[in-house]
């Protein structure tokens, strides 16, 4: 089986525009979720994790000048600007050439340019930009990717599933490099939807905590570059191993009562990785801070007999970034492995799930070697992916 290396990563969030900037805030325990009072997003003030618009525009102008002098910034949507910056930063410092026929672009997004349905944008952009493939085409044209991009839109597991799908394709030898990028933006569409579910917390979310009261929404992008080419490995042997997907077959908007199906995916991913559950030394959970999700995850972790393994959620830093979350959180997991620590789970103080699990309340200064990323989403989907340091 071909080895799949993670060779580069980027995170764009309220906490910064590079993986390093984000890592500094994660290490300091700073959350990017703040009460925002923006009428375009919500009639009432709502806690959100938003990407700084001024910096986004400034950084984008620089990149546009470098790649596409012939284009005006107004040609690009907010999401496209974020994705382009994320991909450009992840590409920088690698020898990956997008024009190479062995390079594949994989896009993870749940809602794409959904803001273009708002009246204020309809006249500004071609109506076709609402399609998810149009976003991928913008990226393909900007960077000059040759191959047809692969687009995954599978609710909140999109990002982890995109990494799983890409690593499987690399193992077949069909491609040597995959640029896996994911993004979603905060919009009235998404915020009002989660409000209608009464799923939003009135304060920054508190995953796994006794006093958690729902999720916080966020926006952002994450990009991870995967390669099966030997010699392309500045991350010093952080590998993508086995991955698995399952479905609860229970409810379209509520997670499994038992966690059995997520546990199935976890066990399959670990088994494919040629390792065993007791070797996992860090779990990056989905941890949305809704009562049901966190409870279900605790049951799945317990069913897979990993009660003592350090677990954290990044939702307390960035909120839930939907199709970006799997990539941003996997990038953070890679940062943990590379820099030898496990970031504390922001917002967690008092255990609040029925199973005893080891939620990280204070950043651990110990390098994790075999790590698990898990995610679950609407439609009953679950995903699990193992990363390992050689």
């Amino acid at each position: 089986m071909k080895t799949v290396y993670t060779i580069s990563e980027n995170i764009i969030s309220s906490l910064g525009f590079t993986a390093r900037e984000n890592a500094e805030s994660l290490a300091a325990g700073i959350t990017g979720i703040k009460l925002h009072n923006e009428l375009n997003l919500s009639a009432q003030p709502v806690p959100l994790s938003l990407v700084d618009t001024d910096r986004l525009e400034q950084n984008f102008d620089t990149i546009l000048h470098k790649y596409r002098k012939d284009h005006k910034p107004g040609f690009y949507t907010r999401l496209e600007k974020m994705l382009i910056l994320s991909v450009a930063d992840a590409l920088a410092g690698t020898s990956v050439r997008p024009g190479d026929e062995k390079v594949l672009l994989v896009l993870s997004t749940t809602k794409g340019n959904i803001d273009l349905l708002e009246d204020r944008f309809t006249a500004k952009f071609d109506h076709k930009r609402i399609y998810l493939w149009a976003v991928a085409n913008i990226l393909r044209d900007f960077f000059g990717f040759i191959n047809m991009p692969l687009i995954i839109s599978n609710a909140c597991i999109s990002g982890v599933l995109a990494l799983i799908a890409a690593s499987r394709l690399l193992r077949t030898g069909k491609y040597e490099t995959a640029l896996v990028t994911g993004g979603d933006i905060a919009t009235e569409f998404v915020i009002s939807g989660f409000q209608s579910f009464q799923a939003l917390s009135s304060e920054p979310c508190k995953p796994f905590d006794l006093h958690r009261s729902g999720l916080s929404l966020g926006e952002g992008c994450g990009t991870i570059v995967l390669s099966s080419a030997a010699g392309e490995d500045p991350n010093n042997g952080i590998l993508v191993m086995g991955g698995s997907v399952s479905n609860d077959a229970n409810h379209i908007s509520g997670p499994s009562r038992t966690g059995e199906e997520l546990s199935m995916a976890i066990n399959a991913a670990i088994s494919e990785s040629g390792t065993v559950n007791r070797d996992i030394d860090y779990i990056s959970a989905h941890g949305t801070a809704t009562p049901y999700n966190d409870e279900m995850e605790s049951k799945a972790i317990s069913l897979s007999e990993m009660n003592d393994v350090p677990v954290n959620s990044y939702k307390g830093y960035w909120g839930h970034t939907l199709g970006a979350s799997g990539l941003m959180e996997s990038a953070a997991l890679i940062l943990c492995m590379r820099t030898g620590r496990i970031f504390k789970s922001a917002g967690f103080e008092t255990p609040g799930v029925s199973e005893r699990i080891n939620v990280v309340s204070k950043t651990i200064q110990k390098p994790p070697n075999t790590c698990l990323k898990i995610a679950s989403g609407f439609g009953g989907c679950n995903a699990a992916l193992v990363f390992q340091k050689t």
Partner: protein, 221 residues
């Protein structure tokens, strides 16, 4: 081991074809809602949740229903039947309905029962619930039908025993324009029942042929 398409459904141009058999035809389709309701009634399907689904889920649900309802219970082990679907417009059909419900702040009616369908993969969730499928699933998006991407993803599932069989295909709807083709793909084995159309190798040519049944007219009336 060879991977074969052992059954399929096709919806397009007012026609519903199951394993070479034209089972339903409406020459003039007024709306998708009427079309799918008439089909549901004709086929005497009884599943109350159907009425709560959005159009994309109804379309995918009917495709899988027509494929799986004659299967012997227990032919697929729990977790062994995967679902991999794709389309072009994701959940845009329902996105537009949802956006209309929040367009006006003085008449603001966001509904959780609409919002939940603004994700493309909910159709897979509905199919999984109906048939208790707990295996692999994925929803892919491409501008046009892209058999290569489906083939790559599904082949990996079957070749590496992540799944024993897979429902795979295309479920596209926007307004009253729709087309769907869902195939049951399995590894060649004795347990696969012989359908009245035999089987086809699982490859790009087969998928393209099944997607273009209207032009090829290979069904029997």
């Amino acid at each position: 081991m060879e991977k074969m398409i052992t059954a399929y459904t096709y919806f397009g141009d007012g026609k519903v074809v199951v394993n070479k058999q034209l089972i339903f035809y409406q020459e003039k389709i007024a709306t998708f809602a009427e079309f799918i309701k008439a089909l549901y009634k004709q086929e005497q399907i009884s599943y109350p949740k159907f009425y709560k689904m959005d159009s994309l889920s109804k379309l995918g649900f009917m495709c899988s229903e027509l494929l799986l309802r004659h299967e012997k219970p227990g032919r697929f082990k729990p977790g062994s039947l995967a679902v991999v679907l794709a389309n072009s417009s994701s959940s845009l059909e329902t996105d537009l309905i949802y956006q209309d419900s929040i367009r006006n702040r003085s008449a603001y009616f966001p509904s959780p029962s609409v919002f939940v369908y603004t994700l493309a993969n909910i159709v897979i969730g509905e199919i999984c619930i109906r048939h208790s499928l707990k295996g692999e699933n994925a929803f892919l998006v491409s501008e046009k039908f892209n058999p290569r991407q489906l083939l790559d993803h599904v082949s990996d599932l079957l070749d590496n025993n992540r799944a024993g069989a897979c429902l795979c295909g295309w479920v596209e709807i926007l307004g009253n324009s729709f087309r769907a083709m869902v195939a049951l793909v399995e590894k060649e084995n004795e347990q696969a029942p012989k359908t009245n159309f035999g089987s086809m190798p699982f490859n790009e040519a087969s998928l393209n042929e099944l997607m273009n049944l209207t032009e090829k007219s290979i069904w029997k009336n």
